[in-house]
């Protein structure tokens, strides 16, 4: 069983358990923006910037402040990563550029403001179109250049006016009331609040072409709306108690786990490293491909070579890594089969292949195919009789009383082990394999043939190439 979790960014396990996936991210972002604004704890200084005839309250700079803070406090090496993260924090509405609807972080002198916690996405806002209509309406009532509607907003307003034609008087009144309240506020405060409200709507009604970050993965939606809902049982058992399997079954499971023999991490680590290092020369992302990676060079030579009948040395080498690798490659499988045929011991591999095939058949063919396999390999006087120990034989014939896809599992495992320890090892030492591996050409076989020629002369047989090849394959 795996060990418990590690702490994530200071949040406790209990908090996370209750939270839906979106909330988890919101909490992390909120932690970040809170820290950025905390001047005393190494945060940035939020200040008022003078501009022409007015002052811009409560801002920070993107490049200088936010990006630098992220790089320093989140151990980021690449500024591009910091900008990307900053852009995402903006896209979710936690910071925003003071004079742009598009919520992104730029690596220049643009000024940004922090969103008020009131408007944070973690409050689960799902603003209606009537709210949006009131907001847009309100903007048109105030004669300020900074509140002018952008083109897409004007279009939205027009569409909403048509949709809410009957309600429009009500919407207008709400907008008027809000304008009245706003007028009473301090000028600087209004600037800030207006911008924050605008940023809020930029999240929920984004500029056309921008990502709507409030969209959710539909698979997780159910929990957002109904956090306490327990999933219905497939068997129709009442909800309570369905969320946990019975203690009896759990105990059973735990006992099986306790009995399991496990390996030390040091051992498995070595094994993993060994496997990976062995295959790294075949990994196109790590080692260069000969002649080139088709996707990079648009040249399909590599694929043509792989598909050809003659496997290259590198591929042949793989067959030596394990019996599994040899069987995975159709060319390797064929070669192994050929080798076994030359030894007149191919029935094991043919049995193994037949059982693999059985497992892949449509359900209705399984029974008859299983019987055929029995007749061919296991029945008394079978043409391709395989050697099973009596225990496996008994089990298998029992299984065949009710034939299924897995009737031959035991037998197949047994035969696989046999092949691995016996014929596979000999295959790797065989000339048929070694020739391919070392890319020996047929011409050079004459050297070997000379050493055997004496033997053949004694036997009175002729020195034809074919005969010699036949002899060498079985040596």
């Amino acid at each position: 069983m795996a060990e418990g979790s590690k702490e994530q960014g200071g949040l406790s396990g209990a908090d996370l358990e209750e939270d839906s996936p979106n909330m988890i991210v919101y909490r992390k972002i909120e932690d970040i923006v809170t820290r950025i604004q905390d001047e005393k704890a190494g945060g940035v200084s939020i200040r008022t910037v003078k501009s022409f005839l007015s002052k811009i309250p409560s801002v920070v700079s993107g490049k200088g402040d936010i990006v630098q803070w992220l790089i320093k406090n989140l151990n980021i090496e690449d500024p591009a990563e910091a900008i990307h993260l900053g852009s995402l924090i903006a896209a979710h509405g936690y910071i925003f550029p003071i004079s742009d609807h598009v919520l992104t972080l730029k690596d220049d002198g643009t000024l940004y403001r922090f969103q008020s916690p009131y408007f944070w996405p973690s409050n689960c806002w799902e603003p209606e179109n009537t709210d949006y209509a009131i907001y847009l309406c309100k903007r048109t009532m105030q004669n300020k250049a900074r509140l002018e509607l952008a083109d897409y907003e004007a279009e939205n307003l027009a569409r909403l006016q048509r949709a809410f034609a009957r309600k429009w008087e009500f919407i207008f009144m709400q907008a008027e009331a809000q304008v009245k309240i706003d007028r009473k506020k301090d000028k600087a405060e209004r600037k800030i609040l207006d911008s924050q409200e605008r940023a809020f709507w930029d999240v929920h009604r984004p500029v056309p072409g921008c990502v709507n970050t409030t969209e959710m993965d539909i698979r997780k939606c159910r929990r957002e709306k109904n956090p306490h809902r327990v999933k219905k049982s497939v068997y129709g058992v009442p909800d309570d108690g369905q969320s946990q399997p019975s203690p009896v079954l759990k105990i059973s499971f735990l006992n099986i786990q306790l009995d399991r023999h496990c390996m030390k991490v040091s051992k498995v680590a070595d094994s993993l490293m060994c496997y990976t290092e062995q295959f790294m020369e075949y990994d196109p992302f790590v080692s260069a491909l000969e002649p080139s990676n088709p996707w990079v060079s648009d040249d399909v030579t590599f694929w043509d070579a792989e598909a050809s009948k003659d496997p290259n040395q590198q591929r042949v080498k793989k067959w030596g890594f394990s019996l599994d690798e040899a069987l995975k490659d159709p060319a390797g499988r064929d070669m192994f089969l050929k080798f076994l045929e030359s030894e007149f011991s191919s029935e094991n591999l043919r049995f193994w292949l037949a059982v693999q095939d059985l497992k892949q058949r449509p359900l209705q063919e399984v029974s008859s195919r299983a019987q055929e396999i029995w007749q061919e390999f296991l029945a008394e006087g079978a043409p391709s009789s395989i050697n099973l120990d009596s225990h496996s034989y008994e089990r298998t014939s029992q299984n065949l009383k009710d034939p299924g896809r897995y009737s031959y599992e035991d037998a197949q495992e047994h035969i696989f082990k046999l092949m691995k320890s016996d014929s596979y090892a000999r295959f790797l030492r065989s000339n048929i394999y070694q020739d391919l591996l070392l890319a020996r050409k047929k011409v050079s076989r004459t050297l070997q043939s000379l050493s055997l020629s004496a033997f053949w002369l004694f036997q009175g047989k002729s020195l034809t190439g074919k005969r010699l090849t036949g002899l060498m394959q079985s040596s």
Binding site: I24, D78, L272, W295, P362, E409
Partner: protein, 379 residues
């Protein structure tokens, strides 16, 4: 019709009713009893063996869990990245976008490669499933599925068929039927069987031709979001991950849950086997990816960074298992050095969440599907 699923290590006469059937090996107060599943249910419902109560069973459960943690803890003699110190650091990876596949009208939710290494199938929120030749960018086929959010699609091994499923709870021409959305599907080694995972908390194995349920897998206590078949020629197992934060390994023959891993702090969105089949990786909403070894029965690596705060939705290994590609909800793909535990590279390019990444069958390219309506091929 559903198979009952439980641990059946032996077959024989039940010690209670005497009928020959698959037996559950239960321990009550350290005494082994072998009952058939029916009798176990009876026992559980009608009250428990002498002196037992649900509370005492729960206590036993807790003490066994503790004991298991202790035992496993003894095997944790070193960290994977420490052992990996002796291997060479990887050189800088020059991975770039080589193709951009445009054509979907909405979020692309899933994709799968064909065995021919260049064709692929993708499915989208708008119900469209498209088959592409990734190399030439041409669309070879387009199907409209009568449901939205087609979250799962798979290419058949022969390349002659495609399976897909989603909100309609079905997989393909109603081969698989679940009581909730289909989150993942894959063909087993032939065109004739499909393995599916579902929001109803179960996984299931189906015979394509007859639509019959061959085996069901129960054990998750929430939506199952992903599954992956073990890569071995001789294996009959698969791993699944779900909203209950657990990753479970299953025996396809018996439906039994063989191993279980729980170290993530939030939903597991994706699971994928390491190429040798001895380990697997998972991606989670807790912004980490983790690596679990089956032989050590524990987590052996966590891939995380302070600057990575968005959930990981998908993972896949490079051919040798040295690299782990992970797609995130922050629109990026992080490339992790599996053995050393460090991040090798970060791939920018997508303009919305990355929903799926898959390495091509010969390892030459990585395909990513995104909510930005496109797929990208990287090499």
């Amino acid at each position: 019709m559903c198979d009952q699923t439980f641990m059946a290590a032996t077959f024989g006469p039940c010690e209670s009713c005497g009928k020959p059937s698959p037996l559950m090996n239960i321990y009550i107060k350290n005494e082994a009893i072998n009952y058939c599943s029916f009798c176990v249910e009876l026992m559980a419902c009608q009250g428990l063996q002498s002196g037992e109560s649900v509370a005492s069973l729960k206590r036993e459960c807790e003490s066994l869990k503790k004991k298991l943690e202790e035992e496993r803890g003894k095997l944790n003699d070193v960290e994977l990245h420490q052992v990996a110190d002796k291997i060479e650091v990887l050189g800088a990876l020059a991975i770039k976008t080589r193709r951009v596949l445009k054509g979907h009208g909405n979020k692309v939710l899933c994709m799968d490669w064909c065995k021919d290494k260049r064709r692929l199938v993708s499915s989208s929120q708008d119900g469209k499933v498209i088959v592409w030749d990734g190399f030439t960018l041409s669309k070879e086929n387009g199907i409209s599925v009568p449901c939205t959010w087609v979250m799962a699609c798979a290419y058949a091994p022969t390349g002659c068929a495609v399976a897909c499923g989603g909100l309609d709870n079905k997989c393909s021409k109603a081969v698989a039927m679940h009581t909730n959305y289909v989150s993942g599907c894959t063909f087993t080694n032939s065109d004739n069987q499909i393995l599916t995972s579902s929001g109803d908390g179960s996984c299931a194995l189906w015979d394509v031709e007859s639509g019959q349920l061959l085996q069901s897998f129960h054990g998750h206590t929430a939506d199952v979001l992903s599954l992956d078949l073990a890569p071995s020629e001789t294996g009959n197992t698969f791993v699944s991950g779900g909203c209950d934060k657990k990753a479970n390994v299953w025996d396809m023959r018996s439906g039994q849950n063989i191993q279980s891993f729980e170290s993530h702090v939030s939903d597991i969105n994706c699971v994928k086997y390491y190429p040798s089949g001895d380990a697997f990786a998972s991606a989670s909403d807790d912004a980490t990816c983790r690596f679990y070894d089956l032989r050590a029965d524990r987590e052996v690596a966590v891939y995380q960074k302070d600057s990575v705060i968005f959930g990981a939705s998908t993972v896949d290994f490079s051919l040798s298992g040295r690299l782990l590609f992970a797609g995130y909800n922050d629109y990026t793909i992080n490339v992790w050095d599996v053995l050393k535990g460090t991040r090798s590279s970060i791939l920018f390019g997508h303009e919305n969440r990355v929903s799926r990444v898959r390495v091509s069958p010969d390892g030459t390219a990585l395909c990513s599907a995104s909510w930005d309506h496109t797929l990208r091929i990287w090499a």
